[in-house]
Point group: C2
Chain length 330, copies 2
């Protein structure tokens, strides 16, 4: 694959950005090396955005909500990128962005860029690629990055580790239990929005807002010093969107002035480095012929039931220790 033009990405060329994301998502070794070169050159141009994580169970209206919020922000002069993390769709179907008709209006905007993240592979791998896609979008001038996630659990934790602000969409009526939202997820939220607050739903949405606000009081204070907010909206009828954008902006002002915004990004950089390191060393060691052969033999023996996973790991440990000891002895 040709290396996408850095100049074009920096001027916001959508095609160049798309190509860069495809490159970053590729699992081919040569593509990977090119992707790393590209990221190295672009990273100095990244970071100048607010990264917003948006989550909620299927059916809560995430697409409609992101479209409404995105359209509002575009009208305010922002450039919006929407990425989606969906690791649990690893069987190929039911993907978050499988529905091609979603976010039709936002897709048509010149200031909006919508792209799913790679939906296959481990959550760690998907998260690493999503982080890289965030950087690419930032380098291309998008100043608001929305990272959408489905599912209720591990992927939220991964996403909250790569965003500045975490927004949880909820519904009134359905009990928390049925919504599958766990306290751990609610505790991560900087803003809870009760969607579909329209028509007959409005009263129950307001009751839900009050209930969530009370629930949030029970949680311990956030490291950021920010008090999580609860709002209602109707993404379908485009009400309540302005208030949500205003809360996000207030959060940014609050956390920038306290220094938390920058500190948190550095903490996230450390976590990102740790996962890059972990991902890298496995591959690097397997480039060593002795390690590679032992590894292949272990896999074969395991397939034939001649070895247990624990003793196979011990074999690998023995080989790697030999390599490390040789170095120390020098």
């Amino acid at each position: 694959m040709n290396l996408p033009s850095i100049e074009k990405i920096l001027t916001g060329d959508r095609l160049a950005l798309s190509k860069a994301i495809t490159l970053v998502e590729s699992t081919r070794t040569d593509d990977r090396k090119q992707a790393e070169m590209l990221l190295d050159k672009l990273i100095g141009h990244s970071g100048k955005s607010i990264r917003i994580g948006i989550s909620g169970v299927p059916g809560v209206g995430k697409s409609t909500f992101i479209e409404a919020l995105g359209m509002y922000l575009v009208q305010q002069g922002h450039k919006i990128a929407v990425l989606a993390v969906d690791p649990s769709s690893n069987k190929g179907k039911g993907s978050i962005l499988g529905d091609k008709t979603r976010m039709e209006a936002l897709s048509a905007e010149r200031s909006a860029f919508i792209r799913p993240s790679p939906s296959s592979g481990s959550l760690g791998g998907v998260a690493a690629r999503t982080r890289e896609c965030i950087l690419l979008c930032e380098a291309a001038g998008y100043d608001i990055i929305i990272v959408e996630t489905v599912g209720v659990g591990q992927s939220e934790i991964a996403v909250s580790g790569m965003v500045d602000f975490f927004l949880l969409l909820m519904l009134a009526g359905a009990g928390d239990e049925l919504q599958g939202i766990k306290r751990g997820i609610m505790e991560m939220a900087d803003l809870i929005v009760v969607n579909k607050a329209d028509g007959e739903n409005e009263i129950s949405a307001n009751a839900a807002r009050q209930a969530y606000a009370r629930a949030l009081h029970l949680f311990s204070a956030k490291e950021s010093g920010w008090t999580p907010k609860v709002l209602t909206c109707s993404a379908l009828h485009n009400t309540g969107i302005e208030e949500i954008a205003s809360v996000i902006n207030n959060y940014r002002l609050h956390s920038e002035s306290s220094g938390f915004f920058a500190d948190n990004r550095r903490k996230q950089d450390v976590e990102w480095f740790e996962s890059l390191y972990q991902e890298m060393i496995g591959k690097m060691l397997l480039e060593n012929i002795t390690v590679q052969n032992t590894y292949k033999n272990c896999i074969n023996d395991l397939k034939e039931g001649q070895l247990t996973p624990g003793s196979a790991a011990a074999k690998m440990r023995f080989e790697i220790e030999k390599i490390l000891n040789k170095t120390i002895q020098r």
Copy 2:
């Protein structure tokens, strides 16, 4: 911690088994080494069970269901161990086993052992420890291991990678969307059970059963050659449980005679080895002083914003390449 007695574990001593699980769950380095020694000695006594994964969204009645199924199986002369994987409770609250009154009757049975898995740490770490807990329970003579999981996504994928049979609990009435169950999860199921099929619910439960059965027809055939089944039950009124146990038994007969049961366990062993290897090498390399110092410097520079995650990873790559090249040159 004293090494739990291997003899006592093998004779089914519950206290010894509990101590062994605590040891395996410990994150202390010396405990970890002892845990690996213990597992090495016990692994030859493990494997003689059927491992059943049970999942469903919160509110579907998992505890009541597992209690009903467990009590039935105990009455049939089986020894049941129930483990729970709940990685998303990493903020401490809302754990799957937080409710102490759950499974009261089953807890009181001498042939049943109920234990949550460690609920903190990464999903990979939790999964690795759960696999080890399965082995310990098998060595202690439990011939049916139930691995329960909440959440709807990544943790199901982890659990399906360590069990022989995957059972998905569902409810009638609530749409699939609201239940947060994705196609990818449904596709993993060997058996879908519509719970709470009692009273007024019975008709809708039967309708749901038919709908799920139709949905399953649309999926591609399973590698095991098994046709997934759909049943209804009322865990509360103890109806339909016998049929479920019978389906699980049929699956075992089917997959044992086709050879899939053993093949699948070996495939799982390979995956387990791969994650053990990954977990191990990160730690091993950091025992090398040069690597460790570079790593610490990288983290410090990242915290001060002097380095990007990508360039920090490149530094680590450079150090590790030096070590590997030295070895090759010898």
